[in-house]
């Protein structure tokens, strides 16, 4: 079965006046129809940029410098802007982090819904409004027929994120990219929104790319998880495997630092040091300066993602390292 989304060797660069920054490098992954892929990593690991690149909204001067993005096998990263626009919203929906700022404060939510629906379909004004009402109902807005004429600031944060979800799903996309959809919300609301996201996407048959730094959310929601570090994927695999038996030393550190997941050890592990800045990504494996198990090839040679058990991992611990490295 063709994956909904295939990302192949994606590279995104930001030229700055102090040289070109490579924000993500050689990132590859697939999302199968109906699948929820969690993308996890620290701030600055390149998670959001990956999502933004897929939907074609990298802000200039940033640019996709290499690789491909395929939607149902069709390449979309090199489409003319107008065609890419038609894919956005229609085939790929997106949800941003902060529901408080995602909606235009000057327009009623009904207007914003109808506008989105009519951009992607030939529905009449009244049919689009009817659809907007049913979407609001579906995302759990109480009394949608009165709330549809309210302004965003009249909703609470959680309610607004429901409206945002309705907007993202308005044109029945095949893929929803959710970029930290719960980070800005109260803890009590987070679980509801995540559950809603998962249920809606399952009902509408949409695959999800769920970007978050919260391993807990991933553990509950995702089918597979990609762990990103310094603009690269360190490890990708079924969520159960990655959590139970992480392969990459970075993933191990990440899991060890989460209280709820680290129940079998006595103390939380902390990864020494901090993630490198984009201006100073180490050579070889970017994690090697912090890695407790770094050895000969790590500072020099960059590990590729390669299959290991049911996952894929980019680490020399699991692959035969190059002969030239052995000679050092």
């Amino acid at each position: 079965m063709t994956p909904v989304l295939s990302v192949r060797n994606l590279k995104v660069e930001f030229p700055t006046r102090r040289g070109v920054l490579t924000a993500i490098d050689d990132v590859s992954f697939d999302i199968a129809p109906g699948e929820v892929l969690g993308v996890v990593g620290e701030s600055g690991a390149g998670k959001s940029i990956t999502g933004t690149a897929v939907i074609g909204l990298i802000e200039p001067p940033g640019r996709i410098a290499g690789g491909e993005v395929l939607l149902r096998g069709q390449r979309i990263d090199n489409l003319p802007p107008e065609q890419m626009r038609k894919i956005r919203g229609k085939r790929i929906g997106m949800v941003f982090q902060d529901p408080l700022t995602s909606l235009n404060p000057l327009y009623r939510i009904g207007y914003q819904l109808v506008e989105t629906i009519r951009t992607h379909s030939s529905l009449s004004e009244s049919a689009a409004r009817k659809k907007a009402l049913s979407l609001l109902e579906e995302v759990g807005i109480p009394a949608p027929d009165t709330r549809i004429d309210a302004y965003p600031h009249q909703f609470s944060g959680g309610m607004r994120q429901r409206v945002v979800l309705a907007l993202a799903l308005a044109a029945e996309p095949e893929l929803v990219i959710a970029d930290e959809p719960t980070t800005a919300l109260d803890v009590s609301v987070q679980a509801q929104i995540i559950a809603l996201l998962k249920r809606l996407c399952a009902q509408h048959g949409a695959a999800v790319m769920l970007i978050t730094h919260d391993m807990g959310v991933i553990a509950e929601t995702a089918d597979r998880v990609a762990v990103m570090y310094a603009g690269r994927i360190a490890e990708i695999g079924p969520v159960r495997e990655v959590i139970k038996a992480p392969l990459h030393p970075y993933t191990k550190g990440l899991m060890g630092s989460i209280p709820s997941l680290a129940h079998d050890s006595d103390r939380l592990v902390q990864i020494p040091g901090s993630m490198p800045r984009l201006t100073a990504i180490p050579s070889g494996c970017p994690f090697h300066p912090r890695c407790p198990r770094a050895f000969v090839p790590c500072p020099t040679f960059r590990p590729e993602l390669q299959p290991e058990q049911s996952s894929q991992v980019a680490c020399w611990l699991y692959h035969p390292f190059p002969v030239t490295a052995a000679a050092l």
Partner: protein, 317 residues
């Protein structure tokens, strides 16, 4: 559900901090922008020429013995009828336009700088007092600022100038006029400083170190100057640069309207006013050359202000 980021805290070392200052955006953006360098050079040339006017001006426009009506209305040297002694021509009294521009710039810059300094000191003091004292004092000062800022500066300056005429009568001598200009322009530009400084003072006032300083008995004035003031140097500098340009424009406008410096001691604005009368007679040089000087000076100062603002406020970049 733990936030894994929180456990991977970033620490900035002292060395990194030093490097950040050395590679600072201020120096960097200055050297990178050719426009800014050009603006700095234009400003420097005009200011130095104005300061050295008595040394480099070919004629002394204030020395009546040097003037001859026979030399009046001469076109620039390169036009027919031009005189090599008067590079940019002469005005109606036979004064060398180039020399009057040098002396005129001196007046314009002097009033502009003094007025900006005065407005700055007044605004900073009032801002500090308002922010630190709070209560009624704060309310009165900031209300006054609100009301004043609804009026254009030029109107306030004109009003003060008119008042001085009523007070001093016709005997307003040049010395008085100079200070009246400084006062009237200065008084119309203090609001922005006051608002900025008051804002930072309010922020700093509630920080623990100020409280601690107060508890160990350091005088409030000392606290304000030692701790609050350094935090507002950047914004104040930006406001001052842009205000300097505005002050020069305001002075020129007042003088042009006949409310500023007299023709015996002209500023650039006065020179343009004198020259305006002869524009229709085709004697354009009397007004246009001082006009170009004024525009170049103000533009250069504005460009420097723009650069300062962008360099000190990374958010806007």
């Amino acid at each position: 559900m733990a936030d894994t980021t929180a456990l991977l805290v970033t620490r900035i070392t002292t060395r990194e901090r030093i490097r950040a200052v050395l590679g600072s955006d201020l120096v960097y953006s200055f050297l990178r922008s050719r426009v800014t360098i050009a603006a700095a050079m234009v400003t420097a040339i005009i200011v130095i020429a104005a300061l050295l006017a008595p040394l480099i001006a070919p004629h002394d426009p204030y020395d009546l013995r040097q003037l001859s009506l026979l030399d009046s209305h001469n076109p620039p040297a390169w036009l027919s009828g031009g005189d090599m002694r008067f590079l940019l021509g002469t005005d109606d009294q036979g004064r060398d336009v180039f020399s009057t521009i040098l002396y005129g710039s001196r007046q314009s810059i002097a009033i502009g700088v003094m007025a900006t300094l005065f407005a700055g000191m007044l605004g900073i003091s009032l801002g500090l007092i308002a922010g630190y004292t709070g209560g009624t004092v704060d309310a009165v000062i900031m209300r006054a600022a609100d009301i004043q800022s609804t009026f254009p500066a030029i109107l306030i300056a004109m009003l003060i100038d008119g008042t001085s005429r009523a007070l001093f009568g016709e005997q307003r001598n040049e010395q008085i006029v100079f200070w009246v200009m400084v006062l009237s322009i200065g008084l119309s530009f203090w609001v922005q400083y006051a608002r900025t400084v008051r804002g930072s003072t309010l922020v700093e006032k509630n920080k623990d170190y100020v409280l601690a300083a107060r508890l160990i008995g350091i005088a409030p004035v000392k606290i304000l100057f030692r701790h609050v003031l350094p935090n507002v140097v950047g914004p104040v500098l930006v406001i001052a640069t842009i205000n300097l340009a505005l002050a020069i424009i305001t002075e020129a406008t007042l003088s042009f309207l006949g409310l500023g410096l007299p023709s015996t001691q002209p500023s650039l604005g006065t020179l343009i006013q004198i020259g305006q009368k002869y524009l229709f007679a085709g004697e354009w040089w009397i007004a246009i050359f001082p006009g170009i000087t004024l525009a170049a000076l103000v533009l250069a100062v504005n460009l420097l202000g723009d650069w300062l603002r962008d360099a000190l406020n990374p958010k806007l970049r």
